[in-house]
Symmetry: C2
Amino acid sequence: MNITLSRDSQVRVMESTVANAERYFGQFCSLLAAYTRKTARLRDKADQLVKQLVDFANTESPELRATLRDFAEDLAQVQDYRQAEVERLEAKVVMPLKLYGAQIKQTRAEIKKFKRVQKNEMKQLEKLEKLRQKVPSDRQVISQAETHVQRASVDARRTTHQLEETVDNFQRQKLRDLQRFFLDFVTIEMVFHAKAVEVYSRAFQTLENYDLEGDLQDFRAKMHGAPGHCQAQSLSGANPSPCVPWPPANQDARSTARSHRKGDVESEHSVEQFPLEDLGAQEQGLRP
Amino acid sequence: MNITLSRDSQVRVMESTVANAERYFGQFCSLLAAYTRKTARLRDKADQLVKQLVDFANTESPELRATLRDFAEDLAQVQDYRQAEVERLEAKVVMPLKLYGAQIKQTRAEIKKFKRVQKNEMKQLEKLEKLRQKVPSDRQVISQAETHVQRASVDARRTTHQLEETVDNFQRQKLRDLQRFFLDFVTIEMVFHAKAVEVYSRAFQTLENYDLEGDLQDFRAKMHGAPGHCQAQSLSGANPSPCVPWPPANQDARSTARSHRKGDVESEHSVEQFPLEDLGAQEQGLRP
């Protein structure tokens, strides 16, 4: 009976291990999926900001226009990296955690099978015990029951051994996977943050180098109606609004590298078009 | 009439400038507020992950428990920095952009006042023109109208000068503020990302140093029922579940620095308790 009780507690350890993994890995999976989604939302907002910055730049004086476009380009590049972060979190962390469910199911089936075999051993033992009390002198019946017990015990030992191996493998795999998932998570985050620091440092320089005096001169000239030009047209009376304060928003759009790149970025954001690269490729920076 | 037409286009430039600033600064404000909110959501998700990691750590073998707690602590620290990012974005970018509306309103009022004065000048001019056609010889009436025109012109010139100054100041302030808002945005982001890289580098080491072999030995010992101990208890029959596979989740919670720190972090997340520091203070790292 000692062995059976010991096996009981062994099964309890196994069941707890598997149930615990199922519970926590499931939670890690849904939390990391949510984290990834929130990161994507953040990227969307920043993309909108990039768009507004480019629109606004097109209505402004040359210096600010150039500065804001450069800044918008940098901000868009951070979103490219954030997009890569989202794709990698999906591929290297969330998906593997999702697939983990299958492994748990299999181990759980093995434990169930073992419990059936264990139950049978118990049943045979009880049967033998009863016969020994009822018909202690019927050697043939008792001998037959003993054979059944023996067979059930052999079965239980074999299954115990198999189960131990399965659960041992399960535990080793679980520990290794857990380490890998979180190492990948940390690596993906680290690469993103490092790239962001790099790009924002450049953006800081761009913004700091902005010299508003040139734009103020430009604005004053516009406000004073670029006089010769405006008055000449006013006198001719042909054009009621000769001094267009700014070019229309779309006038310069085609000529900026930014608005072209932005289009690319947005199409890159669709998961289908963007093949998932290995983490090793991340040092190459942005996708082509 | 040239001067009046020139002033017309001048007012158009001013009105466009102010309307444009109102439109785009409003959009920047709401987009950056949304960006800040999404960042806070991301922080919330990561905080939940930290909590689950600590809970899970408490159910695991010593090596993994220590590793996961250290990792959770690092992840929580990144959220502390993210929280600082959120507070700073609110204080240094979103709020100033919100307050910008008042400045725009004032400039808009000045332009309106100028247009009234300008309209009066036009009216006086038209009146004079009519009188010259109707009663070209009535010197007294015409002289009086000429005086009115002169007075209105002086008014218009003075108001024009005032307006020019107001709009010039407005434009200078706008360009300076825009540069400052985005410089602050970039600085806040840069500081956060740099801190995140630092903390995640440490987390990477923690996770990579995890040695699962010790935990596997520990697990095997548990699975084989820490034999002497388990069997002794089984034989006494007093305790039906002698081998508790893991300590209860809350057993170790009090003894970990992490769970204590986490409480602090969560209370720090409330805006009220957390005074906004100057950006200069960010190099000091986390709040006490």
